[in-house]
């Protein structure tokens, strides 16, 4: 082999391998409803860093929150008392890929229904009416989203959330620092990397409750109806989750769970939440 040929080969082979990998991107679809029904188990993707929705309890390792309780209730409503709900920790960045590759059967992770996401996954009916708001240090000059619209203003948001796009829309001059999860975002706010942190009000109230030096300001400036999500094309699964949600709303379980998690949060309107 000539020297040149070798060199070309070394350059071309990795590229070739990449193309082959790209071709393997497709996968086969299965019927999630039938599979989970016979296994009597649904694997839910939930948040584990978000107080009130899904937060890891460091004492026993369980994930606790409204989304987790609702997912448990739905699982039992669908497949009976002995059915199991298994929880896998996801972040805004990972939940869609995990759903797509089949690691989780459904998502219950404070996830807003958007047209963009609807193109690749399927949503149930909305189950929670949130809206985007701002968290700032007490006494901050930032009072509403318009105060952010200045060059040089830095705002923390979480990668892959609707909050990033919304800030681009409502405060186009602000610079968004995208971090991996809510805990990291809040840490960055505390260390002064930006003047505010933005995401949905429910999540922010959860943080403010534990950190009295910080407050939620400016009310909500968007509507963020949360939906449970399944992979695109899992219509049977979606229909059954929808039905279970209806039943839980009719028998009062749903209201009880909302009251349990959000009843005692000051400044939070439970009525608004229940009519997404």
């Amino acid at each position: 082999m000539s020297k040149w040929f070798k060199k070309v080969l070394i350059a071309v082979v990795p590229l070739f391998l990449l193309t082959v990998l790209a071709a393997c991107g497709q996968k086969q679809t299965d019927n999630v409803y039938q599979r989970t029904k016979s296994a009597k188990k649904i694997v839910w993707g939930v948040k584990a860093d978000t107080r009130l929705f899904g937060l890891m309890n460091v004492k026993n390792g369980d994930i606790e929150g409204f989304d987790v309780d609702l997912a448990k209730a739905i699982t039992k409503q669908m497949y009976g008392k002995d059915a199991q709900a298994e929880f896998i920790q996801t972040t805004a960045k990972t939940k869609v890929p995990l759903l797509k590759n089949g690691n989780i059967d459904a998502v219950a992770a404070a996830m807003t229904i958007t047209d963009k996401r609807k193109k690749i996954i399927d949503y149930t009916q909305p189950y929670f009416g949130a809206g985007q708001s701002l968290l700032v240090k007490k006494g901050s000059p930032i009072k509403a989203v318009r105060d952010l619209n200045k060059a040089g203003t830095k705002v923390m948001a979480v990668k892959g959330t609707t909050a990033v796009d919304n800030i681009h829309k409502f405060a186009p001059k602000a610079k968004v620092l995208e971090l991996d999860d809510y805990a990291q975002s809040f840490t960055a706010l505390k260390s002064g990397q930006g003047v505010a942190m933005t995401t949905d009000n429910g999540i922010l109230y959860g943080i403010a409750k534990e950190n009295p030096d910080y407050e939620v300001v400016g009310g909500t400036f968007t509507n963020e109806p949360y939906g449970l999500a399944v992979d695109k094309g899992q219509t049977e699964m979606r229909a059954h989750i929808d039905k279970a949600l209806d039943q839980l709303q009719a028998n009062g379980t749903y209201s009880r769970l909302v009251e349990k998690w959000f009843g005692g949060i000051p400044g939070f309107d439970v009525k608004e939440v229940e009519q997404p």
Binding site: A11, P14, L15, L18, L21, A22, G25, A92, K93, V96, P97, K100, R117, I120, K159, G160, V164, D165, L177, E178, L179, D180, Q184, T187, A188, K190, S191, G192, Q193
Partner: protein
């Protein structure tokens, strides 16, 4: 894969530029700092050796991400404001410099002791002998392992993604979560890293052939 490139050309290019900038800054400073500590480790003074040893063991044995988070979160709270880019680049520099120090120290110690003795007996001072006799030979010996460190440095620069440093990996993450096309996005990001590391890899190989 091509559409990811064409649709997000400017975003990816910004990320690529920041990765390159951070890597170049970290490379220059870690080479200087690393060499300084390598020399300190070999001088006769015990105090200097202990200082160098402590520095190297601290930064070599703490994960890069921990060092970076320290500069991103702790330093701004108590010392001075620091952006994600700066925190990542400083972390990268300190972390890499400890490995470079160990590499260069090995090179210095591999030069035959007779070289130093010969230089000294010809009237050179310790530092003259170091500068003109020992170091040129030492660096020639450590070019292959140094190349490894440089390549590692470029790859490790992806740590900037965790502290919003707007590097290639950060932009890739943002694109992947905005378009949901994770597969092709990370593929493109991988190719961009290859564009940086492959030429460097070949250049180090070329240098090795020329000098050794």
């Amino acid at each position: 894969m091509i559409s990811v490139l064409t649709n997000n050309w400017s975003t990816l290019l910004t990320g690529f530029g920041n990765t390159l900038l951070s890597s170049v800054i970290a490379l220059v400073f870690s080479l200087v700092i690393g060499s300084a500590f390598a020399i300190m480790e070999t001088v006769p003074s015990k105090v200097a050796r202990v200082i160098a040893h402590t520095y190297i063991e601290i930064f070599r044995n703490i994960p890069l991400l921990v060092i970076t988070m320290f500069f991103y979160v702790v330093i701004p709270q108590y010392v001075a404001p620091m952006t994600g880019f700066a925190a990542g680049t400083v972390g990268l520099t300190l972390y890499t410099s400890s490995f470079i120090a160990e590499t260069v120290r090995a090179g210095i110690q591999a030069v035959d002791i007779g070289q130093m003795e010969g230089a000294r007996s010809n009237g050179m001072t310790y530092w003259q002998a170091m500068r003109y006799i020992i170091l040129p030979q030492a660096f020639r010996l450590v070019i292959p392992p140094l190349g490894n460190q440089f390549i590692n440095l470029i790859k490790n620069s992806s740590v900037l993604a965790f502290v919003a440093g707007f590097d290639l990996m950060y932009q890739g993450d943002a694109l992947a979560s905005a378009t949901f096309d994770t597969f092709n996005t990370y593929l493109v990001v991988g190719v961009f890293y290859l564009v940086l590391t492959l030429p460097l890899s070949y250049y180090m190989r070329h240098l090795e052939k020329k000098l050794v």
